[in-house]
Symmetry: C2
Subunit: 227 residues, 2 copies
Amino acid sequence: MSEAMSKAASTRGARRRAQTRAALIKAAQQLIADNRTNVAILEITQLADVGMGSFYNHFESREQLFEAAVDDALELQGAFLDQVTTDLEDPAEAFARSFRLVGRLHRHFPELSKVILSQGATLVTSDHGLAPRALRDIRTAVEAGRFSTGDPTAALLIAGGAALAIAQHLHEHPDVDDAALTDSVTESLLVMLGLSAADAREIVAHELPDVGGPLEDFWTTSSGESA
Amino acid sequence: MSEAMSKAASTRGARRRAQTRAALIKAAQQLIADNRTNVAILEITQLADVGMGSFYNHFESREQLFEAAVDDALELQGAFLDQVTTDLEDPAEAFARSFRLVGRLHRHFPELSKVILSQGATLVTSDHGLAPRALRDIRTAVEAGRFSTGDPTAALLIAGGAALAIAQHLHEHPDVDDAALTDSVTESLLVMLGLSAADAREIVAHELPDVGGPLEDFWTTSSGESA
């Protein structure tokens, strides 16, 4: 083979590899959305329309695939939240709206919620997904003089830990109102970040954009890899 | 056997069972304190001085034993924190002191910290260990007019989630100052709970009682079951 041909073949190979991985992730996300995470790897590869053997070229276990699927989903989710907060001029409200929407995910996608919980506090310290976006929002609001916290990292740990604890609490208490709990936590976080109690209360009373439909579409039609 | 004899035998049996369980838990706590959780079950039973077969009368797996050991340790830890806060008249400071001491556990007991992390957000919603004590402290401070939060459950989820996120962050960043981070988070939590920024700052600047020695003793000499 010429050098050019060999390079083209290697590019094709890399592309095919990426397509297989994306297909597996998309299948896993579909299974999570359908609340069917307890399936055999054969079933996953059939759903992804890839060879059974190719699974282990990409993932060591079913758990690892589901983690990658959630990681990818949270990255897309973050992009989605960025999108539905662009109309807001107040960075404090952008933070609040994102937090309020994330807390409303768990009842919609209980299996996603379970996989999130199984990853635990690593999500709070992750450098992709929702954590870096929350940190960015906190910093922007501090720069704009809306938040007064002197330690954005501490604020992120608190907000992220709270998001995780909300998931656990909702999971254990199917009767608890997810919206009321999430808004109550958001209100407390806003006070912690420097807003007055009255301002915090007002912000969490604001109507949220209707993202139910877009969320479902987003989750079920997302094309696997976000990169 | 007479009824009395049979009852005595059954009481003896129950007592022996409880002793075996306590010995296994104490052995597991010792292994956690020594950072040696990756041991065979045979080694655990030898350390506990009980028969290998009796392990499975009490626990399904090594992981389940370590969970019970941490659960028991956190219950004892809670009792210990209760003890070192009895001198405080201000319930806000009692909450703060406990939170500040818990954040300082992770560097002292990295393996305990890891087992705690592996249990994740379930610890925040648990009805024993540290969570119910934190909720009690929050409620006491609200009743005393020191905290003004209207939703103690939301406050608990935030504080508990933050405690978990601190553990994860310290685990991932061995160079981070555990005391500084924990105090910064505590300060933010106190503001969230209703204290002024100045009051919050003052409280986390208070000296902590020297619990290093007692903590080590406490952890290594605790007698297994706390009940």
